[in-house]
């Protein structure tokens, strides 16, 4: 069997509303291998979290997967019942969100939450599970574990809480971790600690990680491959060095140019005119065409697609012409 852990094909997520059906995620295909970190970037509203939630089976109704398939190590998971999916989430997929308090119960000691999760997924006794919880806390870098294990979530700092959430996500030794903006609320020094931790765990355990963030810097330092989203679709995928240094899609290039540099001086930052379209007003053809300096008639007519693992959804990049 191949080492592909996550295989998403032609995924579409829709939200039926009074005004009509909104498509938040449109025709997304991607794979993540064992031990690989895939970064998902894009601006606010691009559909990054919706993609992650669809994979986790946590879409809030009426949101639903309208097309496509999701396979986890060969097993199809997008058509499971809620109960089956709950099992998969606990055992095979771990989740880490921006706010650690969404994953922690404020009324229970963190040790008890870890022990409960471990026992749900293993045959360990209570005492054994408690030892395992301590090991996990040490592994994610909580100091003075013997004292901290009986603390409540509010007694930890934001960075320490996020470490506990990572420990929780690891309890069942999942094949895949979906981390949605895990460091966005944290200070840079703590952010660096958490991403270093994620990287180490992924390397040591061979866990596949989907890292959702809007921070290109974090992606550049953490991810092996990147998927850039725009208006619910994939704009570009590729190895991180390629996408950052030699972006093929005009949107990715614009995004990179708009970030102030730590090295060179420019009087004016590069600007992408306009803003990302709302879901109820996605332009025909290439969704980026109203903001693109290269747009031609073909761009307004036909939707470009990402083909393969190293590509841009752009007529100029793929066919060299937009007429």
């Amino acid at each position: 069997m191949s080492d592909i852990v996550l295989d998403v094909r032609n995924l579409r997520v829709e939200f039926p509303t009074r005004k009509g059906v909104l498509t938040a995620v449109d025709d997304i295909s991607l794979t993540i291998r064992r031990g690989e970190i895939l970064g998902m970037v894009g601006e606010s509203g691009a559909g990054k979290s919706m993609t992650g939630m669809a994979i986790l089976g946590l879409l809030e109704p009426p949101g639903r997967i309208a097309a496509g398939s999701i396979h986890l190590s060969g097993d199809r998971i997008d058509n499971l019942s809620d109960r089956e999916m709950q099992q998969v989430r606990g055992r095979r997929i771990g989740a880490i969100f921006q706010d650690p308090l969404t994953s922690l119960n404020p009324l229970f000691r963190v040790g008890d939450q870890l022990v409960e999760t471990i026992r749900l997924h293993t045959d360990l006794t209570k005492a054994q599970a408690r030892e395992r919880a301590k090991d996990l806390m040490r592994e994610v870098g909580i100091p003075a574990v013997e004292e901290r294990i009986d603390n409540y979530p509010h007694q930890f700092s934001g960075g320490m809480r996020q470490r506990i959430v990572i420990a929780l996500a690891l309890c069942a030794e999942p094949e895949l971790i979906v981390a949605d903006e895990p460091t966005t609320a944290l200070d840079v020094s703590i952010q660096a600690q958490i991403t270093a931790l994620l990287k180490r765990l992924c390397r040591e355990r061979g866990t596949a990680v989907m890292l959702v963030t809007h921070d290109m810097g974090v992606i550049a330092e953490t991810a092996d491959r990147v998927a850039v989203m725009y208006a619910g679709r994939l704009a570009e995928v590729g190895a991180v060095e390629d996408v950052v240094r030699r972006p093929r899609h005009p949107y990715t290039a614009g995004l990179m140019g708009s970030i102030p540099s730590l090295r060179s001086d420019v009087e004016e930052l590069q600007m992408i005119p306009g803003a990302m379209p709302r879901l109820d007003a996605i332009p025909s053809g290439c969704a980026f065409n109203p903001r693109c300096a290269h747009a031609g008639p073909k761009c307004r007519r036909d939707i470009p697609r990402v083909e393969g693992t190293q590509a841009a959804a752009c007529w100029l990049a793929t066919e060299g012409a937009v007429a």
């Binding site: 320490m160 290109m216 550049a220 708009s258 009087e267 600007m271 803003a275």
Partner: protein, 331 residues
């Protein structure tokens, strides 16, 4: 850097403490002492007219409190803020462009308000013309004045806040994380606008951000804060070419760099301590790779003999920082 000997703002020994004690009854019953949080703990800086001074530092280091002290929203607990300009022409731009705009007012009225406050007798037609002009200045159209804030995107709302601030004919703008809630492409639009306006109108900015690359792009002078104090203050170029304080160095070493990613970094250890019970001596000493005995008992000051008051650190006084940190930073 263009040094001009006319300070518009002088901040001297500024302090702000907050009482964070438990309620009186709990305190009596549980015999807990009164507790004080030192949000700003002896801060000095000067801003020259037409320049941008940036405050950077991690969450809770006191940046917003300084902004509120400078604009008069808080009273100092000690020290002074001297503003050598027209107080009525000091404006503030906040991080959250939505919360700071009245949702029930049309954008035109929001923008007109500071103008009406500044010059109450201005005829309506003049106000309306000025609002149209301001909307154009920030890249919106006069017809946008008829809309409500919720009809705009985050970046457009921040432009509305800027237009409102400009309506007060400011000479001095306090900008507290003006682009932190925005996407990078929108941030670029707002930062470019702010730079252009500064040049055209000779504005002075106190610019607050936790993002060092944004600050590098915007500021003439950067003050790095840690736990309520300025640990280092330097012209932007010098700060990046030759950071002095161990905290600044670790910070510069920690921020992800798109152009030269450090994929196997060893991050700075530890966390920012609580400002309610800060460490003794130099408050950075528990995380500092260069800390020595003196750092635990005595608090370093910025002194004229040490790099011309640019840094508060004992290791910089002895020169240990110049040699010592390179080796220890990788630990």
């Amino acid at each position: 850097m263009k040094i001009r000997p006319n300070a518009i703002l002088e901040v001297d020994g500024l302090e702000r403490r907050f009482d964070v004690s438990a309620p009186w009854l709990n305190r009596v019953l549980e015999r807990k002492p009164r507790r004080t949080l030192r949000a700003v703990d002896g801060v000095d800086f000067i801003i020259q007219r037409g320049q941008t001074l940036a405050l950077v530092g991690e969450s809770g280091c006191g940046k917003s409190t300084i902004a509120r002290l400078v604009t008069g929203l808080h009273a100092p607990s000690g020290g002074s803020v001297k503003f050598h300009g027209d107080r009525d022409r000091m404006q503030m731009i906040f991080q959250d462009p939505f919360a700071s705009l009245n949702p029930r007012w049309r954008v035109g009225r929001i923008i007109a308000e500071p103008l009406r406050t500044l010059r109450p007798d201005t005829p309506d037609a003049v106000v309306a013309a000025r609002v149209d002009e301001l909307l154009r200045t920030v890249g919106l159209s006069p017809s946008d004045g008829q809309k409500f804030p919720h009809e705009f995107s985050g970046g457009q709302r921040q432009r509305i806040s800027i237009a409102r601030a400009l309506a007060g004919e400011p000479e001095f703008l306090v900008c507290d994380e003006p682009t932190s809630a925005l996407d990078v492409s929108v941030q670029a639009q707002v930062l470019n606008l702010m730079k252009r306006l500064q040049k055209e109108m000779d504005l002075t900015y106190l610019f607050i951000s936790h993002d060092l690359s944004v600050v590098r792009h915007m500021a003439d002078v950067i003050a790095v804060m840690y736990l309520g104090r300025i640990v280092e203050i330097q012209p932007t170029k010098d700060l990046f070419a030759n950071p002095l304080h161990p905290y600044t160095r670790l910070l510069l070493d920690t921020i992800p760099d798109l152009e030269a990613p450090k994929r196997d970094r060893t991050p700075m250890g530890g966390e920012v301590p609580s400002p309610v019970s800060p460490p003794s001596g130099c408050s950075f000493h528990p995380r500092c790779p260069l800390a020595f005995d003196r750092c635990k008992v005595e608090r370093p000051q910025r002194r004229a003999e040490v790099h011309n008051r640019r840094v508060a650190c004992f290791a910089c006084e002895t020169g240990a920082a110049a040699t010592g940190l390179k080796e220890t930073a990788d630990v």
